[in-house]
């Protein structure tokens, strides 16, 4: 604090104060941990119990008269028989379908799922030709999940890796506690999306609800439409050429590229003013408050 008086601090802009106090010592852009998912990489399949499946070996499950437990047990049974492509028919909004799949698999769900669909997965490629309920792909570690219609709240809560895509709109608290990976929303997202986000990237092509990125520690959020409001410590940042290139590649990959390109996207990052709050000097606390 030495060398900077209260009077001087008052004259500064918020940005200048944060820098002068040494609270921002690095460029925020490009900091987010990002690991590209490569489904062909051998080292990905490290679980000793992971079955060796063949993507060309395809089968179907009609889940109409089955319980969730029976469906999930059937998926495992088929994987142990080497089936690498499983089509799940008539899910009828059942909860917790396809959870805990820890190896490569093409899972195609023909319809809509309920809560906690494909949670805790590590590796499969999932396509859901319907809507998903709350907490889709919670704690996902790697793989891809593509939802063709809308999604409920807490979409991608606490995911650590992989690509999670919803082509429609999603509910509130999307990517709450996100720790890695990429969440892409083709439509709008609700309030408190990116709440306590730690790492990873979130892309919202439409509008975002109130308190976007509230209390985020790190990570990056890109929004193509209107942002109702940013949460505490979520601040806009410069959209760099690197960001634009990444957005273009990802949105093209999932057929969500807007006609007008990606230049209009707003980038939101953590202001990091809430970090180490207890260690701040009184003058620094005044700024944060």
């Amino acid at each position: 604090m030495a060398g900077i008086s209260d009077a001087e601090l008052k004259q500064m802009t918020q940005e200048e104060r944060v820098t002068a106090l040494g609270m921002r010592t690095e460029q925020l852009t490009g900091k987010t941990l990002y690991i590209e998912f490569d489904p062909g990489a051998e080292e990905r399949f490290t679980y000793p119990w992971a079955p060796d499946v063949d993507f060309n070996k395809r089968t179907e499950i009609d889940s109409d008269d089955m319980t969730t437990t029976e469906v999930n047990a059937k998926i495992r049974e088929l994987m142990s028989e080497g089936y690498g492509t499983i089509v799940l028919k008539n899910p009828r909004g059942k909860h917790s379908l396809g959870v805990g799949i820890l190896s490569k698999l093409n899972l195609i769900i023909e319809g809509s799922t309920g809560y906690f669909g494909v949670g805790l997965i590590d590796g499969p490629n999932v396509r859901i030709n319907g809507r998903v309920g709350w907490s889709c792909a919670e704690n996902m570690m790697s793989g891809t999940v593509v939802v063709e219609k809308n999604a409920g709240s807490t979409f991608g809560a606490a995911i650590r890796g992989g690509d999670l895509v919803c082509k429609g709109s999603v509910g509130s608290r999307t990517g709450i506690d996100q720790k890695g990976g990429t969440i892409i929303v083709g439509g709008d997202t609700g309030a408190l999306s990116g709440f306590m986000m730690q790492r990873g990237r979130m892309v919202v092509c439409g509008n975002a609800g109130k308190n976007l990125g509230d209390s985020m520690y790190d990570g990056t959020i890109y929004v193509g439409g209107e942002i109702k409001s940013c949460g505490v410590d979520a601040v806009p940042a410069e959209l760099t050429d690197l960001d634009k290139a990444w957005l273009t590649r990802k949105l093209t990959q999932y057929e969500l590229m807007p006609d007008k390109g990606v230049d209009h996207f707003t980038k939101i990052v953590a202001g990091k003013q809430l970090w180490n709050y207890d260690n701040l000097e009184p003058n620094e606390k005044k700024i944060v408050l």
């Binding site: 909004g93 509910g171 509130s172 309030a191």
Partner: protein, 311 residues
């Protein structure tokens, strides 16, 4: 946790009892303690349908005397009806302790209802031109069968499966709730209201009665109070988001409307389906799929969202 569901057909009557039963049965895992329905048949001006209970379901295990007590209570109720000039057009016992009356009455129905409820153990579940409110312990299939709801035709309905958390497992704590002085309003709710006692005292000062200690009843009283004061259903729902604290999603039905409201945190779920001829909503998609198994588009309403549909 609790499960809520609603259905409204646009400009037509349909098998609302059967549809609501299928939806509520699919939500049984969200609340196995009791199930309740508010179903709206064809409104008939001048005639009132009164549903009431004269004992709790668990009272039936309290000994042989309960049968005589029930008979006495019914007799008292009918004396009060006569005293207020109400003529009974039909009387159907749904169970030994729950009855359905069709009444013709020109006087003050509020005063008559208050008089009836002064009888020990008697609670009016609903009284209105279109509304019929049924609630009892057990899942949807059990309650539907007990009260003959399978063939109930109507324009709209709301329903509830209850997991008791803050009040007893009994009929008076089961949803839906109904309130004076607006006869045909009913409410189902999923959530917790944190300024319940403050709001309740405010409503009690205005003269409203509360039959339970369940926070959801407040929403029924609050809505009935607003509607009776000339407020539209949409305005009442919007105002409630500002005035009611807590996390909630609730549905309100009136004689010809169905509405929904979600709190500022959007912490309680609701899935919506809209088509040209019907709107269905429920805490979980699985309930909507119980009546629409084909592939359909559904979505989650956002925080502070209010919607109202016309029958």
């Amino acid at each position: 946790m609790c499960g809520i569901a609603g259905i409204i057909y646009k400009g037509r009557s349909a098998d609302v009892g059967g549809d609501m039963t299928a939806m509520l049965q699919a939500l049984k895992h969200r609340g196995p303690d009791s199930t309740g329905y508010a179903v709206y048949g064809q409104p008939s001006e001048g005639d009132y349908v009164m549903r009431l209970k004269v004992a709790e379901a668990e009272d039936m295990d309290s000994g042989s005397k309960i049968h005589q007590i029930i008979k006495d209570r019914i007799e008292t109720v009918e004396e009060i009806l006569e005293e207020h000039g109400a003529s009974v057009k039909s009387k159907e016992p749904a169970t030994e302790y729950a009855l359905r009356y069709v009444l013709s009455h020109d006087g003050d129905t509020g005063k008559m209802a208050e008089h009836i409820e002064e009888t020990e153990g008697v609670e009016i579940l609903s009284m209105g031109n279109g509304l019929e409110l049924i609630k009892d312990l057990g899942d949807a299939t059990v309650v539907s069968e007990m009260y003959g709801l399978k063939d109930f035709k109507g324009t709209h309905a709301i329903g509830h499966t209850r997991m008791a958390t803050e009040s007893d497992v009994d009929i008076k704590s089961a949803h839906p709730y109904w309130a004076f002085p607006y006869n045909d309003v009913s409410v189902v709710h999923n959530g917790q209201i944190t300024n319940y006692w403050i709001m309740r005292r405010e409503m009690e000062r205005k003269g409203h009665r509360f039959m339970s200690n369940c926070d959801s009843e407040l929403l029924a009283v609050y809505t009935a109070n607003n509607l009776a004061n000339g407020m539209s259903l949409e305005d009442s729902l919007t105002k409630s988001i500002e005035e009611i604290d807590g996390v909630f999603t609730y549905l309100v039905a009136t004689k010809d409307q169905l509405g929904m409201a979600k709190d500022t945190m959007a912490a309680k779920p609701l899935v919506l389906y809209e088509s040209d001829d019907m709107i269905a909503m429920a805490s979980e998609e699985v309930a909507i799929r119980a009546i629409k198994p084909e592939e359909i588009d559904t979505y989650d309403p956002y925080d502070e969202e209010v919607r109202v549909w016309q029958a």
